[in-house]
Symmetry: C2
Subunit: 270 residues, 2 copies
């Protein structure tokens, strides 16, 4: 599968990342995951706005225009001959000598890849991660950075415990997010999701559901998940129902279409 | 400067890191920084033991033997023609398809680089980072992982505030560590350093100072730093005095040699 690397479409076997790239040595960078279907990247404008905002916060220059990035996405999708794809845009601060302080004139790395879109997943068995937690006090909890080890640990804990995914709590024991998705509950007819201040990543799909489906930001505790009628996970690639948490079934196992259909419609609209 | 990459000594311009390397895409890996002088890597046994322990925790296979890694270090130092060097060993989970879950059969990346050792630094002006904090509740706070963005943010804050380095507090507001060093204070003749549970990285130099110089692990608050007679930073590359914190001078500006000399001797011994 060819990738777009700093403006060139190349075969992976000839793609060369400098081993001194700060993305590799220090996790010094940022990424976006975007759904691609019907010939275009879904909500690319929001993804690129979020990418630029984070790049500015991290002081990583991003000199590629939106049009150039969009052309890069189209090129990798076309080269892979995919009708639907999961796009990843990775921005790192690029190669640098050793030391924590960013170089004065960084030459950032921008990589775009496409992978087949996984089919919709069945309802998930999830666990509440015990091995680690999310640091809601760090501004990085609001950015999709290359520092994903806490999430990897949580995801691995899920595997070991026979589950599909894990929810990370914040340092106060409140719900932050799943390993690669935001968390939503339905209770008494109201959809709720943890606020950003609780360590939830400001997901693009999350933003759409708040805007279009009246989702309310509320601090959630693990008990709120267990007593909810419906628990959902969302990210830019899709929506997934939660079947059980730590082995406890959620709701009565029957989620009416009138709950999920408006969400799917909202997420499917441009 | 040539680097050792997965068993081969190569020129950086021909070194090729796969852009799907999880070290780059997810910060999924670990590193060591080691002082090299007098023809050998200082306390290499401890560094390699720590590297293997962390690799086991992260479930990243490390099939290279200690002898092979040592030969790699010697080779990069010789190729760079350095008498003294800062060695970095980076271990990542290696290339993988997209997704958080580690591949079943990872092919890890091991890279060894050498850089000139910086001369001893003058006493540091430091700040207490306000932009972010260290998550002492994550097991990653006890590992030198590739997730260094919080430390980068803190180090950049120091630069912006006209200082040389920053101290990160933990989520409870207690002292954890500096951006690339452990923190020590001298008060009433006793040397103290924050315990691991407070978010301090278990530095190799820190371990030596605890074993050989009677350093006591105690929770430290910012006020403890400000009222200390002496504040010191240590890492595997050296020891550094702190001149001021947030603009407040530490002690009377005169650190007697009998304080620092035993520490330097302890760190200089094998």
């Amino acid at each position: 599968m060819k990738l777009w690397l700093n403006g060139r479409l190349i075969a992976p076997e000839s793609a060369r990342l400098d081993p001194s790239d700060r993305g590799f040595t220090l996790g010094d960078g940022r990424f976006e995951t975007i759904r691609y279907e019907n010939g275009r990247a879904v909500r690319l404008d929001r993804h690129l706005a979020r990418l630029r905002q984070a790049a500015a916060f991290l002081a990583i220059p991003l000199d590629w225009s939106d049009r150039q990035i969009e052309a890069g996405i189209d090129a990798v999708v076309a080269a892979a001959n995919l009708a639907a794809a999961a796009i990843r845009i990775t921005l790192s601060r690029g190669p640098a000598p050793r030391g924590l302080l960013p170089p004065a004139a960084p030459e950032p790395t921008l990589a775009i890849t496409a992978a087949p879109l996984a089919p919709p997943a069945p309802p998930a068995r999830i666990v509440i991660a015990t091995v680690t937690c999310r640091n809601e006090a760090s501004p990085l909890s609001r950015l999709k950075t290359l520092n994903y080890l806490d999430n990897i640990l949580a995801r691995r804990e899920a595997l070991v415990r026979g589950a599909d995914d894990a929810i990370l709590l914040n340092t106060r024991g409140e719900v932050a997010e799943a390993s690669v998705a935001n968390v939503f509950i339905l209770e008494d007819g109201v959809l709720r999701t943890p606020p950003i201040d609780d360590g939830a990543l400001p997901g693009i799909a999350r933003g759409v559901l708040i805007e279009r489906c009246g989702v309310v930001e509320t601090t959630l505790r693990p008990a709120d998940l267990l007593s909810a009628q419906v628990v959902l996970l969302s990210n830019s690639l899709g929506l997934r129902l939660v079947m059980s948490i730590d082995g406890n079934m959620i709701g009565d196992g029957d989620v009416p279409d009138e709950v999920t259909e408006p969400l799917r419609i909202a997420l499917a609209s441009p």
